[in-house]
Symmetry: C2
Subunit: 433 residues, 2 copies
């Protein structure tokens, strides 16, 4: 048993003083939450510290961490830079990956995540094969290397194994995309099953499926993957509605928008997460709500890639669960991501305090839950709570840091969200370690 | 003499290795920049450190730092929260100020600024008198207390003494505004002159004029203040175009938009800075460009207050100098502010690398200059450069910080802008100290 006695506990229920958290070291679960007065003599006192559940990063491409600074100049490829010219630079980065390199960059990336207050990551992993598309001897070697990097760092990972079939509607894979592709849906599902088996006895690793997008995966693949996920109780993540061009292409090819296509393929359920959803229209939001699907917003990446503005207020009003991801990993900071959800909503509505749920007195509860419960739901992980039987995935926040120093308890959660950054995080525990 | 030998120097001209910076301790100026090989034996070697000019924060209301966390809940005053309901909460904070309190909060606020990499601040100071409007025995006591707080912290300050005449067009000051008001323009100008004299022998303090806004100050006051600024070579700062309502009121009362009114009053010149400019239209942007006036964007505050989106691209194309301010001081981080300029431009244009000047290869140079030269220009300070006779206002950045670790020299400035935060800043020197 490890017993932590912080000055404050902050979770979905508010800010609490005088609590002790008892962690069962073997299971990595919280065994009990009790009054600090009952703490044993060997309890660890965390002075001037608030303890909170760790944040969940529902969408990451770890290797993109090493594009930092390389992609912020005008491309020679196109007169107007865009997501699409950025993608060419990203493909060059993907082309340079091998098992050692991906392990190295993933380790550095996940380490920054853990230091920033993320305790779980959904790694949407799409670089699978050798540069010409030939599988490695072990066809999951790159995925396994990423998971092992997470284990080394001690962060919980959901490896979202990406399915990639083609370059676009009626377009084969381009050269830079060959490493991402499997020759058939059966081969992809074999790899997925093999990875599920490999991960079965690894306490920090679980597996999900990730048909890349409606441009990269046909309806037939989507349907087969959705069936597999339903049979194996796996989450399904898919990029959609990040850029207007993707929607135009889907409409041209099929007469449907991306989320409509995903729904027709039978791949929209409570286990589904649409990554981005920046350009979701009203009908797509209604489909998401009806299916109880999630949206993963990646605010800092969407800003960097010039994607547009998430319809955050409409998603809240429709009851769609919205979580966050660090995506391109240019910035890794859960507080910056959740704050930006509300910032976009405020700038767009030209008012304040927009993402307020029924019963809440402000947006703080909603945006924190985007980083906590909505993320865990999207990744199929236990809810991040500070209560008995919840995972002991915790972060320590410095109450003396100048970002929040002197703030009263009643205002502290709001100050952390609106004035704080990952610089507040001094320590973290994952499965109690 | 103090000689600093960092691993790298980053300034407007790029990234340089093997330089030594010689500081004249008496004047606080850079005496020479020479090859590191010529550094004397007692030089201070700053290993794994980049040295850069400090950032200029052109717009701050220091006391608002203590609103953190207090204003992020739905107001009981209005069904729809907005800038205007926030303002009521801010007035309550302003109402509680006295000389000791403002010195205390300013000290904490400026200290965070200095730690975050700002080496100069333009303090737009508008709380002048006792709560009922009666002047203190020394009518500048609150302004002086703010300047003394800056001196204690060791940050350069331009005290922008605010003129406040009325509550709005044809509306007297409301109760919460009485502390801000002077009974006549002559009384205001007397206070301004007294403050100029008080500051004359204080090396870290200079003074500027700040007619609050076209709603709070009449054209007659604007004209008199502009004349005084021209005669005394002072900068003139004025809030304008932050919120649509302010523009509607100006149009209703005068038939002119705020920047048009400022221009008609003779208060738009190369010494003028328009704070915000969020809703500037094409004609106002043309007026700003013709007058060579500056705009001070306050991106994180404008997000928090739900102001809208700065027309950053249009301002660049018109050649208007844009600087940054931390304004409400909820967030204090120069890199976050400058990055957000480009982020807004990208999200709005749905493309990347938008704020690119002729001759630059990307937006990094432009946004860094928003934090450096444009800010200094707006505040009437010497240009922040690492060259002979420039002020030794410098910051040290940690090259091993996980935000930028491993980035090549050629990509480093871009990585600092797009992936960095104030957590990179390990040390600062102002006037060489």
């Amino acid at each position: 048993m490890t017993v932590l006695v912080p000055e404050l506990v902050i979770d979905q229920t508010g800010v609490h003083r005088d609590l002790a958290i008892v962690i069962d070291d073997a299971s990595g679960l919280i065994d009990a939450v009790m009054g600090a007065a009952h703490a044993p003599a060997d309890a660890i006192y965390l002075r001037r510290t608030a303890l909170a559940p760790g944040f969940v990063n529902a969408h990451s491409h770890a290797f993109q961490r090493d594009l930092r600074g390389k992609v912020e100049r005008v491309s020679k490829l196109a007169p107007e830079d865009s997501f699409w010219t950025w993608r060419e630079a990203m493909y060059a980065g993907a082309g340079a990956i091998d098992p050692d390199r991906i392990r190295d960059v993933a380790r550095r990336c996940f380490s920054q995540m853990r230091n920033a207050g993320f305790t779980a990551v959904g790694e949407f992993h799409y670089v699978h094969h050798q540069p010409d598309g030939t599988p490695y001897g072990n066809p999951n070697v790159l995925s396994e290397a990423v998971c092992e990097a997470a284990e080394e760092v001690g962060i919980r990972i959901v490896l979202l194994l990406t399915a990639y079939e083609r370059g676009g509607f009626d377009r084969p894979a381009a050269e830079g995309q060959r490493r991402f592709c499997d020759p058939s849906i059966d081969v992809y599902l074999e790899r997925l099953i093999a990875l599920q088996e490999w991960a079965a006895d690894r306490p920090l690793v679980t597996v999900g499926a990730a048909p890349h997008s409606v441009r990269a995966v046909s309806e037939g693949w989507l349907t087969r993957i959705a069936e597999h996920c339903a049979d194996h109780d796996l989450v399904l993540h898919v990029h959609a509605d990040e850029q207007p061009r993707e929607i135009e292409e889907a409409l041209d090819a099929t007469g449907l928008r991306p989320v409509e296509l995903i729904e027709r393929a039978g791949a929209l359920s409570a286990h589904t997460t649409i990554v981005h959803g920046t350009w979701c229209d009203e009908h797509e939001i209604a489909l998401l709500a009806a299916a109880r699907a999630s949206v993963c917003a990646c605010p800092t990446t969407e800003a960097n890639l010039g994607d547009g503005y998430l319809p955050a207020r409409a998603l809240l009003q429709a009851g769609v669960s919205v979580c966050i991801g660090s995506d391109s990993n240019t910035i890794i900071d859960p507080l910056v991501e959740v704050r930006e959800l509300e910032a976009i909503a405020r700038r767009s509505a030209v008012r304040r305090n927009v993402l307020v749920r029924e019963g809440d007195d402000g947006p703080t509860g909603y945006v924190l839950d985007a980083g906590w419960s909505a993320g865990a739901r999207a990744l199929g992980l236990p809810q991040p709570r500070i209560e008995t039987d919840a995972p002991a995935d915790l972060i320590a926040l410095d109450l003396d840091h100048e970002e929040i120093a002197g703030v009263a308890d009643a205002d502290l959660a709001a100050a952390i969200v609106f004035a704080g950054s990952s610089a507040l995080v001094t320590r973290s525990w994952i499965r109690g370690r």
